[in-house]
């Protein structure tokens, strides 16, 4: 007997039985769910049958048929609770009823298309705005470089100090180094696995594939150390990346191309790898393509398209910085050894810096030596690369983030209001369900599911809005020349952005679904069924009013902020720049790209001026190292006869080199003496024309005409001042400060005391005669006749050039205005909704009042009064908030008074007018109700 238990057949039978039992269990627990409808039907038939039998029994015992049926039903008990219990028992009840509720909610939403669309569109705008701004915030402020393990990267410097420094002292911290110092730090600092150096700026290279006859095109490039790619852990997409072997003075010149350029310009042609490209007319072999998405060491516009070894810099550039120990132009990023302590590393590098400085003690100026003790450096996390853009836009992005967050709040308030009104309108239905035995939790859950569904729909739509908006913002904020890489920010939402939108929409849904759901469930069935529209006191109207007040107050804040930003921008754009904006064209050229030597330049400029001057309609033409507004050159000034400035004295001035007649072309008035003229030649004495700020700064009340100064201490009588011109704004930084000192020297007098780069003038300014219009095409044609190989990089009017300097502030002012108007619109809709709903509830009351002799004016006032009180509250709350936000904006207003009364007044007026109109409409409508109809509605 015992043995047979272990017999295989018994075992098999046992196993089979167990399996069958398990399957039956499984089937019986799943089947009811899978066939929910069948189960409902079964219960219905059973109940039906039960009641029929009981009724028959009751009739037999002598009851009348109707009474018999009633008694049977009474005995059976409430149908709904039993069905509910039955369903609970049926298995997976939570999930099933969830699906049921979801389907029910979807059905309800389909039945109210206007409500659904209104909510989805509102949410899409709110979440779209917030998400697109967050995409920017994420890309600029939060994201790391697309490289291996960015947390291990450290960079030199706390802040970015673009782009060149000269000498042996740097203010505050050493953030830019020379090649010599880089090598010293690299070889003497042990904590780095790899320390790479790269150029801080991206020079534009003239690029032409060798053997092709087409004109050179300009693309930005960057000089990087041989271990640059190894340090980032970035491998080649095709071919190979640069190696330390490529970065030797005797190595054959090679370069790496970005994936973007390879794909867009060369159609992913595999023969590019190994091909010879002429970069600034110097042959380079392209050894590889960088992987897609890699944009170098920093987020910037334009991003480099070529990476060249540092040691090819002297090969490309006539006046190379590479071998000058005092010329600092390189940024450093290093990957630390696993487990290395960055603080110890920083200390080590500080010592190394001092050692290096001491080794160059003989080359140091007295000034450098005096400042030696305070020279120091800092390391900071480098996972995001060089964060110039972060420093530049942080404040703006914060402002936008706050503004879009406020819009989202307004949107949420609007949605809560709509939901509450919907909840109230559904009150009877809710009460009926509760009276029929629906459980309160189920009712609340139904409402909650509805609002979550809505918010997810809105979130999805918001993502679409965000994608489109981010693309647009990027295009407007960072305009790039055609063919160039724009700033490397993708408009498509990344994982954190998706998560952000999802959480934002879900929070909106849950937070603003809970209150209406709770209010709906609080309903006393009897009260609701009796019809509560008779009362004048409306339960739950306080939260709705508060929401409207909040909306209006926030819109006031946004409106006044956008007003301030717009007014400040207007003020700065309308200021007197010190030169003429109208009828002026600026053409940008780079003679270096066409391979001009410095001794050919004077003739080239003469030919350009003569050719362009002969275009009909051109009244005058001049060239400058840079035309306003643009980047510039600056250096120290030593005045003849004045004591030499101390190590801490500021003797800086910007300078420019211009052709004869330049001041007449840009229409900067000459105040004293003369401007630069044809009489200033290579053979005549070296002269300079200074601006008022220069005269004030270096000569005070003295007359500067005839005085001498120079760019270095031993040449303090190099220039003789022959004229003073009025101040003109060449720089768009520091707009809230007065124009800085500047001097101009003649193009004809080649000034070899400084970098040869200053000999290449970049901007041609063309003045049209009054009433004449000079087309860009005619200028291009003229330039082609001068030299077809000299490309014109861009040609714009001076007004466009100036406007281009304010692209980002303008975009931010416009975005904030858009947010302000959007929230004003939403607030008006919100107030309209609340006022209309309240007026609707009071139809009966209004009817009674009118029947008792109130006229239309009284009725309008009755309805309007409530709305006006809300507006007043909104202003009471909104005004202090506006002033607080103005304080926050203070630094972005270019020195405008942040408490500008006219801006605040305009915002108050805009808010007041639109919400007044929004509440006037329902007030007017309810004044049209006839008392008879009103009383009959009950």
């Amino acid at each position: 007997m015992r043995l047979s238990f272990f017999e295989p057949r018994t075992m098999a039978r046992l196993g089979y039985a167990l399996l069958r039992r398990f399957l039956r269990r499984l089937a019986s627990s799943l089947a009811p769910w899978a066939t929910a409808r069948q189960a409902e039907e079964r219960l219905r038939v059973e109940i039906e049958g039960h009641l029929a039998l009981q009724t028959a029994e009751n009739i037999r015992s002598g009851l009348a048929p109707t009474e018999a049926r009633r008694q049977a039903a009474l005995k059976f008990g409430g149908l709904e609770p039993i069905k509910e219990m039955y369903r609970d028992q049926r298995g997976l009840p939570q999930l099933e009823s969830l699906i049921q509720d979801t389907r029910h909610a979807l059905r309800r939403l389909r039945m109210a298309p206007v409500f659904t669309i209104a909510i989805v569109v509102t949410l899409a705008l709110g979440i779209g705005a917030t998400t697109s701004i967050f995409t920017l915030v994420h890309a600029v402020l939060l994201k790391s470089l697309p490289v291996v393990n960015p947390a291990e990267l450290y960079r030199l410097g706390k802040k970015s100090h673009c782009c060149y420094f000269n000498g042996f002292n740097q203010k505050d911290e050493w953030s830019i180094v020379s090649y010599d110092l880089y090598k010293y730090l690299r070889d003497n600092t042990e904590g780095f696995a790899e320390l790479a150096a790269f150029q801080d700026s991206t020079p534009i290279l003239g690029v032409r594939r060798s053997g092709r006859s087409d004109a050179a095109q300009s693309y930005p490039g960057e000089f990087v150390s041989g271990n640059y790619f190894k340090m980032f852990g970035v491998g080649a997409y095709k071919g190979r990346m640069l190696t330390p072997g490529d970065d030797q003075s005797n190595a054959s010149p090679v370069a790496v191309m970005t994936y973007r350029l390879w794909q867009e310009r060369y159609g992913s042609d595999p023969s590019v790898i190994g091909a010879i490209f002429n970069l600034d007319d110097k042959p380079f072999t392209i050894v590889g393509i960088a992987p897609p998405g890699f944009f170098g060491d920093s987020l910037r516009n334009p991003a480099p398209d070529f990476f060249l070894p540092l040691n090819t810099e002297p090969y490309v550039d006539v006046e190379a910085d590479l071998n000058l120990p005092f010329q600092h132009w390189l940024e450093l990023i290093g990957r630390i050894q696993p487990g290395a302590n960055p603080q110890a590393l920083e200390a080590e590098m500080r010592v190394n810096l001092k050692q290096w400085l001491l080794a160059h003690w003989n080359e140091m100026s007295a000034n450098d030596r005096a400042r030696f003790p305070e020279q120091t450096l800092y390391l900071s996390p480098g996972g995001a690369g060089i964060t110039t853009m972060r420093e530049l836009y942080q404040r703006w992005l914060q402002i936008l983030m706050i503004a879009s967050g406020l819009v989202l709040l307004v949107v949420c308030a609007n949605i809560a209001n709509l939901m509450m009104i919907r909840g109230l309108e559904r009150r009877r239905q809710t009460s009926l369900s509760v009276a029929l035995g629906a459980r309160v939790t189920r009712v609340v859950r139904g409402n909650l599911i509805e609002s979550i569904l809505l918010s997810l729909l809105g979130g999805a739509a918001g993502l679409a809005v965000a994608f489109a908006a981010t693309g647009l913002i990027l295009k407007l904020a960072f305009p790039s020349l055609s063919g160039h890489a724009g700033v490397s920010i993708s408009a498509s939402p990344s994982m954190p952005v998706l998560l952000f939108a999802f959480i934002a929409s879900l929070l909106t849904g849950v937070a603003f679904g809970v209150v209406p759901a709770w209010m709906a469930a609080r309903v006393d069935p009897i009260e609701a069924l009796r019809g509560a529209s008779r009362s004048t006191a409306r339960a739950g109207s306080l939260p709705r009013k508060m929401l409207v007040v909040l909306q209006a107050a926030l819109s006031l804040v946004l409106l006044s902020a956008s007003g301030l930003l717009t007014a400040a921008l207007q003020r700065i754009e309308d200021q007197d720049f010190g030169f003429e904006l109208d009828r002026r064209l600026v053409a940008n050229i780079n003679p270096r790209l066409a391979g001009y030597r410095t001794d050919q330049l004077h003739l080239l400029y003469r030919r350009i001026r003569e050719t362009i001057a002969s275009i009909p309609g051109v009244s005058s033409v001049g060239l400058g190292l840079y035309a306003p507004p643009g980047g510039g050159w600056a250096s120290g000034v030593w005045v003849d006869g004045h004591p030499a400035p101390g190590p801490r004295d500021d003797n800086f001035s910007s300078w420019n080199r211009v052709t004869a007649g330049y001041f007449e072309v840009v229409a900067t008035p000459t105040l004293r003496g003369r401007g630069i003229s044809e009489q200033d030649t290579a053979g005549s004495r070296s002269v300079a024309v200074v601006n008022e700020a220069f005269a004030r700064k270096f000569f005070g009340s003295e007359d500067p005409i005839g005085k001498h100064f120079g760019p270095i201490p031993r040449l303090s009588s190099y220039f003789e001042i022959v004229g003073v011109v009025s101040d003109a704004r060449y720089f768009t930084s520091g707009l809230d400060q007065p124009t800085g000192p500047m001097y101009f020297t003649p193009e004809a007098q080649a000034d070899y005391t400084r970098s040869a780069g200053a000999l290449f003038l970049h901007d041609i300014v063309i003045a049209g005669g009054p009433g004449a219009s000079v087309s860009a095409a005619s200028v291009l044609q003229a330039m082609a006749s001068v030299d077809p190989n000299l490309p014109v990089i861009s040609i714009r009017t001076l007004r466009q050039q100036v406007a281009g300097q304010f692209t980002q502030p303008r975009l931010i002012a416009r975005l904030t205005s858009f947010f302000g108007i959007l929230s004003l619109l939403l607030a008006s809709i919100g107030l309209y909704g609340v006022t209309a709903y309240n007026a609707g509830c009071r139809t009966g009351e209004i009817g009674v009042r009118m029947a008792l002799g109130a006229d239309r004016g009284d009725v309008i006032w009755l309805v309007l009064r409530g709305a006006l009180i809300q507006i007043l509250w909104a202003m009471l709350i909104g005004l202090p908030l506006s002033f607080a936000s103005a304080r926050f904006l203070g630094s972005q207003l270019y020195g405008m008074n942040p408490y500008n009364p006219s801006v605040v007044f305009a915002a108050v007026l805009a808010l007041g007018a639109s919400v007044f109109i929004a509440s006037l409409v329902p007030a007017f409508r309810s004044s049209l109700t006839s008392p008879l109809d009103a009383l009959r509605t009950e």
């Binding site: 039992r21 039956r24 269990r25 019986s28 627990s29 079964r42 219960l43 038939v45 059973e46 109940i47 039906e48 049958g49 039960h50 029929a52 039998l53 009981q54 028959a56 029994e57 005995k75 059976f76 008990g77 409430g78 149908l79 039993i82 219990m85 039955y86 609970d88 028992q89 049926r90 298995g91």
Partner: protein
């Protein structure tokens, strides 16, 4: 005597016993039988029987199939399965024991404990 509430477990036991004694039966039949036996002392809505029947069926103690009732309507007939019979025996036994223990407690008078 007051009507008493009935716990679900007790109701389930009554159902099992009813089917054990009377064989396959529809819901109404079970309800009537329970009423008769308890002589209307149970305050239970007849409807609450159906979730209990479903539960027992899911546990495998009952099986059910469609049949025709006395008044020629479609009705679901429940019968005891083998597992149900086992469960009934076990529950009856434990009920018996509980009842005996409780009865003993009530039978004991103070003087008996000396």
């Amino acid at each position: 005597m007051k009507e008493i509430d009935v716990r679900q477990g007790t109701l389930a036991l009554m159902v099992l016993k009813t089917l054990d004694v009377l064989g396959p039966l529809h819901g109404y039949g079970i309800a009537r039988r329970i009423e008769q036996i308890s002589e209307d002392l149970l305050a239970v809505n007849q409807g609450t029987l159906y979730p209990v029947l479903l539960k027992l069926e899911q546990e495998g103690s009952l099986a059910s199939e469609w049949g025709v009732s006395e008044n020629n309507r479609r009705a679901r007939f429940y019968r005891l399965t083998r597992a149900g019979r086992k469960q009934l025996d076990a529950e009856a036994q434990s009920w018996q024991q509980t009842a005996e223990i409780i009865a003993r407690f009530f039978a004991i008078k103070a003087q008996d404990l000396k």
